[in-house]
Symmetry: C2
Amino acid sequence: MNAGNAPTMKDVAREAGVSLGTVSKVINGISVGEQYRRKVEAATKKLGYQVNNYARGLKTNKTNCVALVMPSLRHPFFAMLTDELTSCLMRIGYRSLLMTTNYDSVAEKNCFQLAQQNKIDGIIALSYSPNLEADDSVPVVTIDRHFSANIPCVSSDNYRGGELAAEKLIALGCRSLLFFRIGPNIYGEVEKRGPGFENACRMAKVPYQSLFLSDADTEAPFFRFLEEHIQDGKLEFDGIFCNSDGLAVRVCEFLRSREIRIPEDVQIIGYDGIVDFATGRYICSTIVQPVAEMAQTAVKALLSGDSALSPANISLPVYFAPGGTTRE
Amino acid sequence: MNAGNAPTMKDVAREAGVSLGTVSKVINGISVGEQYRRKVEAATKKLGYQVNNYARGLKTNKTNCVALVMPSLRHPFFAMLTDELTSCLMRIGYRSLLMTTNYDSVAEKNCFQLAQQNKIDGIIALSYSPNLEADDSVPVVTIDRHFSANIPCVSSDNYRGGELAAEKLIALGCRSLLFFRIGPNIYGEVEKRGPGFENACRMAKVPYQSLFLSDADTEAPFFRFLEEHIQDGKLEFDGIFCNSDGLAVRVCEFLRSREIRIPEDVQIIGYDGIVDFATGRYICSTIVQPVAEMAQTAVKALLSGDSALSPANISLPVYFAPGGTTRE
């Protein structure tokens, strides 16, 4: 034990004769074998070890600079998130190194390499890379995609958001539901929107259909599907949940072009909470992601330093906001 | 002359017996007295001086990092510009330090100080500070606001954009025009939109009225003005130019709420070229700012290093794009 200083997690591990990871798990309430838990608790008590959130801060070579890896700023959700992250970092005296990847996973890997070479304190990444190549040299927090237990992932509560969309549509009178998903071919937290929606439909015994497309496809199959299910000017479904506000707007536009009224005939809910900059209104009825809270949480999780001490998945509460495409 | 090395601009100035600024002007084709031009040309020839764009690069303590100072990323124009600047810098191996000011000039000054302390190669700023406090320690390029002859300013050709809006409305049959401006109470390049518009109206002998408001006001006076000029369901003006797309959208919305048809009764043009992310369409008929070119030009002007060698004002061509609020 380092004389005169407060005991560290390493000291606890040495005293208990277990790995650092085991200590971390016990401290974070993650299940380990009973004998390990006892050893760690005994060592913790003996050494008087206390979890110190401030001591979790980054200790060596502080640069006060955090890299933000974003696909692009052309999508308002990413722009809003970057704005909040930067404001949040500036308030605590940190600078933001912005890296945009244009959804290109090669560019993305280069970003990470660049970030790691240039003495930054950490990385907050909204990554589309199939395999994020983060090493231990720099703390990483991800948004919306969970890579490993050592990398905290911050997201909105996507599963609950899906449930909420179904519950809302059902409460507003819908009796035949539809879920449209288009996105990248990689698994991320956002994929829980569909299962949440479907489960809430099952619970309420309301029939539903789901269509899943990849970004590699066009959205044409959605519109073909809708076209095929219009009979005598009436869509066979009366409620649609789309996995993004952008898609919801395009679906509304398509249905209106077929003389179907929104929200009178069909009600539609998107996901994200995008606000039109010109009017200040939601662009459609939507499940709102708590962007400011997500940014604050990501910064806090990153700067707590020891990612083993942060919960791996942090999902933040969402809420429904009416935006003209539902009856309320 | 520094032995063994290529001659520098300073060597030319010494040889010609003129100031460095004079040499710079001659090299950049800016008019100087004929005798000075001859002296500089003779010295240039004698020393074999060659303008070397690469040698203009920043020489000492290169960090390969440029600070971007932006009001916010919540406005799509700023997000788009930041996206282009970052992509442009990354392509040439530079990183972007993003600083958002939230339109606060105190925060903005702090940003500059922070930027200057932290060893960056330069600053690209879209600043709302009344007085930009840039010193000589770091090269600065501004967007849309011209601070001094030593700081290159990149903007769209705002004056031409204003003219173009008037010309387009007149060509599309408008006979009574209106200009609405709302913005900060500081002079910037964007203020040339109004004068350009008014001058084109005068040239075409088409009557016009202009209303100028400050951000400190609300937009209510615009809507009161419109209300007062509606007679029997008809607006007394048939063409409106707004100094931003956001304002144009709000004006359209107001007029439509008064049963005035856009573009049949009144045609409206905004400025910026904002594209709706969901539909990919312009949100209104608009004068498009060449954002990618502006970003490239700003980066180039910054990294050319010697700001005396860059023209102080660089305005880039704009164009009209129809977006549903004009007849074509």
